[in-house]
């Protein structure tokens, strides 16, 4: 697992960028991981992906950290960034608390499942599954999302969602109107959230790229509410798997400390910059880079 061979990388010899570990002291490590995590948090925030999905390849590929410890460190940083962002969204009344609480039954169950699978599964498989999920997230991020103008599904019967009183309103600052929306397909949402929670627990990521489509496509919620509610749920989901990882001894304080502080710092800087990256050229570059990283992860899973 830990040995590196140039032949492992037909795409580009990544061994050249593996940081020299022979001279690295705890001080070097802390400073470098803090720096890399800050960049990961910043990129995650600008791309709307979250820091975890970027920091795990950095920790494993650059620093040679065991993927299970990288996942443990990442899941803690996911709680920090999600809680920070959720605080702002909840204040604005953008999150739907009922939807969040209802779906958290599924995400938390999934997170416990995922964290358990991660404990027994081989590290090779974690690399491969991570690579695939990263590629999927990069593609989802790349596809531009449009606000739905018409909402035909709002007419369909939704006995479960109505019984659970999931429908609500939010204030749209852009159009200065109070927007009412109707939620449908509550049970489909529950199933999709269990899957999202499982990936979150298994890989130590927020898995917002799975949660947001479950709400805005399946449950027909407005994209702004879906994003805010997803953020709100990610913290609770991550707390469940972090509990399993912490008690199981996979969260090493020395690794988790600079990762948590760095990713949070990067996300805070990102939220103060001019929103998300809109330039399609830059987005294309990032998608290519992320796909390349995902190939590296899969390759390391097969040959590493």
């Amino acid at each position: 697992m830990m040995s590196w061979q140039p032949r492992d990388f037909p795409f580009l010899d990544a061994t050249k960028i593996v940081l020299p570990r022979s001279w690295m002291t705890p001080l070097h490590f802390d400073v470098l991981v803090l720096l890399v995590s800050t960049i990961a948090g910043l990129l995650g925030s600008l791309l709307g992906l979250g820091g975890g999905i970027i920091v795990i390849p950095a920790l494993t590929l650059l620093f040679g950290i065991d993927i299970k410890y990288a996942i443990g460190a990442s899941i803690v940083s996911v709680i920090a960034t999600s809680s920070g962002a959720a605080a702002a969204y909840v204040r604005e009344g953008m999150s739907n608390l009922r939807v969040a609480m209802f779906l958290e039954m599924a995400t938390v169950s999934g997170a416990i499942t995922g964290a358990y699978v991660a404990k027994v599964i081989s590290g090779h498989w974690l690399f491969i599954i991570f690579g695939v999920v990263l590629a999927y997230s990069a593609v989802v991020m790349f596809r531009k999302r449009h606000e739905q103008i018409t909402n035909p599904a709002a007419m369909r019967p939704a006995p479960w969602a109505d019984f659970l009183q999931l429908s609500s309103t939010y204030y749209d600052a852009a159009t200065e109107t109070l927007v009412a929306y109707r939620v449908v397909r509550a049970r489909v949402g529950l199933l999709l959230m269990y899957i999202a929670g499982t990936f979150s627990g298994l890989l130590g990521i927020g898995s917002g790229s799975l949660k947001v489509p479950a709400m805005d496509i399946a449950m027909q919620m407005p994209i702004k509410v879906s994003t805010a509610t997803s953020n709100f749920m990610i913290g609770v989901t991550a707390a469940a798997s972090a509990g399993v990882y912490f008690m199981g001894g996979y969260i090493v304080p020395f690794i988790a400390a600079p990762v948590a502080v760095g990713v949070l710092l990067g996300a805070m800087i990102g939220s103060h910059l001019l929103g998300r990256l809109q330039s399609s050229t830059i987005r294309t570059v990032f998608v290519v880079v992320l796909l390349w990283i995902s190939l590296q992860m899969i390759w390391k899973g097969i040959h590493g």
Binding site: A87, V90, A239
Partner: protein
């Protein structure tokens, strides 16, 4: 964008009450304080570690034992408390991580109380179930 007129006439959105608004602000503050306290503890713990162990500044051997731990490190409540008694930096970091993990759990607990006050039995039950699942995660995690 969805408007009320585009939906069936018998359907109305659930209005957001003053009480819900207050709970939302309480949750927002709770999340901020939780994250702030934990980051402070993590930073203090890291500084304490470096002050206590001069080898951390220049020994690359130390890093291998920290990053690929073979020796036990604080990862149980008992272990963290033991470490705190000895003012161990890594135990302070671990406490900060526990505060961070506890923050969303506290948020769920606040929601349980809020739904109870609203006499919303269905959501009290749903929220309580989420809380129990979170507790289960912590207890199951300790079992090997």
């Amino acid at each position: 964008m969805t408007t009320v007129s585009a939906t069936p006439p018998d359907w109305k959105p659930t209005p957001v009450s003053e009480h819900v608004r207050r709970v939302e602000l309480l949750i927002s503050n709770l999340l901020r304080i939780g994250v702030g306290v934990s980051i402070a503890l993590i930073a203090i713990g890291t500084v304490v570690s470096f002050v206590h162990h001069p080898a951390y500044w220049k020994s690359s051997k130390e890093l291998q034992t920290l990053v690929h731990p073979v020796a036990p490190f604080p990862h149980t409540l008992h272990g963290v408390l033991e470490g705190l008694r000895g003012f161990d930096g890594q135990a302070i970091v671990a406490l900060g991580l526990l505060v961070l993990i506890a923050t969303p759990v506290m948020r769920v607990l606040v929601s349980v109380v809020a739904f109870l006050q609203e006499h919303d039995r269905l959501y009290t039950a749903i929220t309580l179930l989420v809380f129990c699942l979170l507790m289960l995660a912590l207890f199951l995690g300790a079992v090997e």
